[in-house]
């Protein structure tokens, strides 16, 4: 390298000495040798001189060769000495200075090879003004300059909106240098570069800002692009926070491959926009999982709204809901219902919507598939609203439940989301006006399940009927509807809100196996006790059916356990399984008086209710340790002989188990039957003679009867007259 420089320096010295000694050549002298034939099209001058024929017509036509090629003397042709480098900066000082700092200038001390020279872009001798078709920089011949080196960029640009416009000769089409500058092109990482992110919005805005030539002359769907961008979270990041990694125009639109959003290849086309945004927002589906089921982004992207449906393209803000431009677009037609103008199809009650939980949900979030560029963006909406976009868990439950299964079969009776939830006016279940507010749920479910309504009509007669009427009279129904306790159990507390399943389904909350847990959600203390009792499946390993809450308390007719209705039903309920015990119980004093709300001991008074254990269990209320205390609840002064001795389930029908009772009963029965039989016959036999007697006495009275009254006894003193 050093040798090369030394040679160059020697050459210059030699040149200078020859200029000092010899005469400078005139242009005519030069052309004696350098007359070059015309080449079409003229190539970028390498080797030099090929475009020499253009010189006379070029902007430099009036110059002598020596004006640029200074120091060429008579000795030149003889010596074949290298010509000194043309220094355009002699005249074009400003440009030279810019170039010296640009990426197109080798750093100080570096080789010039690979770097463009002035003539690389402007031509050597054929330098023309830019609007001259012969200029290398003529707009229609744009591919002759930059593309020599930037081939790839050129190819992409050629396809782009800018490139095609350029080909068409659109005067507004941007040239490479419109964006990058000409002589002073700086590397993009240099903050002074026009393609540094910090400058990109202004650079693009030069054309696309409101009132700029392009925005004014071209039909672009978006308005106030630059202003929106600057107010957006991206613009704020860039301008106020100085974050150069923030998205700028080219981040989304690309730098050279700018295409309209209608072009399927475009990065901002609906189908691609998610991918585009995800260049930066890589894990956006994680963030949106609550709002949009993440899986759908990948599996069924057509189902979910794309980024721009919610986040306005240029006005993307952290709080983007307040100003949904697209909502305004929708309401322009669909909001008329309220303003009183012509009614339109699918009118939206904006007042209702404003008070709903979806007030801050954009139209496009639910009504997916809109095409914002169309005059009626909704024209392209084909699918019904799919609530699972946001409420995936609920909809999955619904599909699993009976309602969803019926709906899947196309059953006309099957309720869908909007049968229980209002559409635009959907409200929180905590809102008293909502149909899903606890106090309104029985009415809501009753719309179908009340007796005579469509759901009730489908049920076979052996299934539960009068459900809503029974519920309303139950402890839960009274608590909810009369006492106004919203924490009281209502339909969906037991049946779930979305996943209602018949009790035969093992997954159902009202399947016998799950009933204790379902009731235990509120009655947890009871459930804990119950789970330790003989009736719990966790204690009794048996094939026989074990009772659960609803077997004793019923499902919809639950009453207070102190009420007559329960007291009477519970003995029958126990008796469903413990038939003999219930029957023999009824033979004893307790059982005989256990009708109505009396104090008579019922099953649960002795055996316990939820904590029932076999008497052999020491913890049982009827174990030897506890039985006296159990009886003493009613029988003060109870003792073991009394408590264990009295036969609470005795029957006189069993001679083997209870011989004393059996024989007492039959002895008494024999006495009764004997007495009645004897005197019955006695009386019957008496009848005929009694009639005869009657006639005889009538005669007597009529004749000479002694009608004086004899006192047989004194009723006051009670002593009889004996003879």
């Amino acid at each position: 390298m050093r040798i090369w420089w030394t040679c160059l320096a020697l050459g210059i010295l030699l040149g200078a000495s020859s200029w000092a000694t010899g005469e400078e050549l005139t242009s005519a002298q030069c052309l004696e040798c350098h007359a070059v034939e015309a080449v079409t099209p003229p190539r970028i001058p390498s080797p030099p001189g090929e475009d020499l024929f253009l010189l006379p017509e070029s902007v430099h036509g009036g110059l002598e060769c020596s004006d640029c090629h200074g120091g060429v003397t008579e000795e030149h042709p003889l010596e074949k000495a290298a010509l000194p480098r043309v220094d355009c900066g002699q005249c074009h000082a400003d440009e030279a200075e810019l170039l010296a700092r640009s990426v197109h200038h080798p750093p100080v001390g570096a080789a010039t090879e690979g770097y463009p020279q002035c003539y690389s872009c402007h031509g050597a001798h054929g330098v023309f003004k830019q609007d001259d078709a012969r200029s290398y920089l003529f707009t229609a011949a744009w591919d002759r300059a930059c593309s020599q080196c930037h081939e790839k960029e050129e190819a992409v640009y050629r396809e782009s909106l800018h490139g095609t416009a350029m080909v068409k000769g659109d005067p507004l089409a941007p040239h490479c240098w419109d964006c990058h500058g000409s002589h002073g092109i700086l590397p993009p990482e240099n903050p002074g570069s026009r393609s540094n992110p910090i400058n990109v919005p202004e650079m693009c805005g030069a054309c696309h800002a409101e009132n700029a030539p392009v925005a004014a002359a071209r039909n672009i769907a978006q308005h106030d692009i630059l202003q929106h961008y600057e107010e957006s979270i991206h613009g704020e990041g860039l301008k106020r926070k100085g974050l150069t990694v923030t998205a700028v125009c080219s981040s989304c639109h690309t730098a050279h491959h700018v295409l309209p959003h209608t072009d399927a290849r475009s990065t901002i086309h609906r189908d691609n926009v998610v991918k585009t945004c995800m260049q930066c927002h890589t894990l956006i589906e994680e963030v949106h999982r609550k709002v949009v089921e993440g899986r759908l982004w990948e599996e069924e992207p057509n189902k979910v709204p794309v980024c721009i449906d919610c986040h306005q393209p240029h006005a993307a803000r952290k709080v983007y809901y307040d100003e949904g431009v697209s909502d305004k677009d929708c309401m322009a037609c669909h909001g008329h219902a309220v303003t009183g103008a012509t009614r339109v199809l699918a009118a939206v009650d904006t007042i209702e919507l404003a008070s709903s939980t979806h007030a801050r949900t954009r139209c496009a979030q639910c009504h997916t598939g809109a095409q914002p560029s169309l005059h009626r963006p909704c024209e392209t909406i084909a699918a019904k609203v799919d609530c699972s976009i946001c409420h995936a868990a609920m909809v999955n439950d619904y599909r699993r439940g009976v309602h969803g299964q019926l709906a899947a079969r196309g059953d006309p009776d099957a309720p869908e989301c909007l049968d229980c939830h209002r559409g635009h006016g959907t409200q929180s279940k905590r809102d008293p006006a909502s149909p899903t507010f606890p106090r309104n749920v029985p009415t809501l479910c009753g719309a179908c399940h009340r007796e005579g309504e469509r759901a009730a009509r489908r049920l076979p007669p052996e299934r539960q009927h009068e459900i809503v009427a029974h519920y309303s009279m139950s402890i839960h129904g009274k608590g909810l509807l009369q006492s106004g306790l919203v924490v009281t159990a209502m339909c969906s507390d037991c049946h779930t809100a979305h996943r209602e399943l018949p009790r035969t389904d093992p997954e159902s909350t009202v399947h016998p196996d799950n009933v204790p847990a379902t009731c235990g959600r509120c009655h947890h203390g009871i459930q804990e006790v119950f789970e330790t009792s003989i009736h719990s499946a966790s204690v009794s390993q048996t094939e026989r059916k074990l009772p659960v809450c609803s077997d004793c308390h019923s499902a919809h007719s639950i009453v207070r356990t102190a009420e007559e209705q329960f007291v009477e039903s519970v003995i029958g309920a126990c008796g469903d399984c413990h038939r003999e015990e219930a029957e023999t119980y009824r033979d004893t004093y307790h059982g005989k008086t256990a009708y109505g709300p009396g104090k008579a001991a019922k099953c649960y008074d002795c055996h316990g209710a939820h904590d029932i254990l076999p008497p052999s269990d020491p913890h049982s209320r009827l174990s030897r340790q506890n039985i006296v205390a159990t009886c003493a609840q009613c029988h003060r002064g109870a003792h073991l002989r009394f408590a264990a001795g009295y036969l609470t389930h005795a029957t006189h029908h069993d001679p083997k188990k209870y011989p004393a009772l059996f024989f007492t009963f039959w002895a008494m029965t024999a006495l009764l039957v004997g007495t009645f039989a004897f005197f019955g016959l006695h009386t019957l036999a008496w009848l005929p003679v009694s009639f005869r007697e009657l006639r005889h006495r009538k005669r007597l009275v009529e004749t000479t009867g002694d009608q004086r009254m004899f006192r047989r006894f004194d009723p006051r003193r009670g002593n009889c007259i004996s003879s």
Binding site: K592, F642, G645, Y658, F679, S690, E693, D706, R712, P715
Partner: protein, 245 residues
Amino acid sequence: MALKFSYMPWAQKLAGILGGFESAGSLHRFCAVVMVVVFVIHLGMIVSRKRQGGRSWREVLSGTGSLVPNMNDARELWATLLWFLRRGPRPNYGQWTYWEKFDYFAVFWGVAIIGSTGLMLWFPEHFTRIFPGWLINVATIIHSDEALLAVGFIFTIHFFNTHFRPDKFPMDMAMFTGRVAVEELKEDRPRYYEELAASGELEKNIVPPAPREMHFWGAVFGAIALVVGFSLVGLIIYSMVFGYR
């Protein structure tokens, strides 16, 4: 009775009218106490009469006017059966016929049995200190069946024998007035009449007819007893036939 047939709807209604099984039970116990007091007074009267008469227990039990059945009653029973079958004349009944003696002892026995078992059922905690627990169950059966017998007997057999048989229809007022027409006495109990006439007691005890009010209230009581009794009997038969268990 409501308790015995408590599985029948009418019994539950009846108990309800009385204020539920609990208050019906209190009422029952109150009446029981009255009954026991009456029984004790009766026993006391027998004892005091014995003392006044200065007779021995043997004389009291077997003498004239005694209600203790004797051989003569057996003979009269046989004669009565023959009379029913028109194989003989009407027996010469004395002061008490055999069925009246049965009526008396039925009640006597009934009160004793029902009273004692009732007491056991009233205070089972105390009785089981001495007796085994199952005796309470036995007492329940006896108490209830004996009551059934008593009610059934009074309102059917007794009613017919004493009041309802055609020659006494509709009722014998002697219960309330203590009086009986001499002619009727002569017909009904010829032997007694003769004994009275012979001893001169007949003439000593001729009294004016009973006051009208006595008759009236007697009739009212009788009618009420009749209605209650027949309803009970009707219900018992109904329950035995249709709801027995």
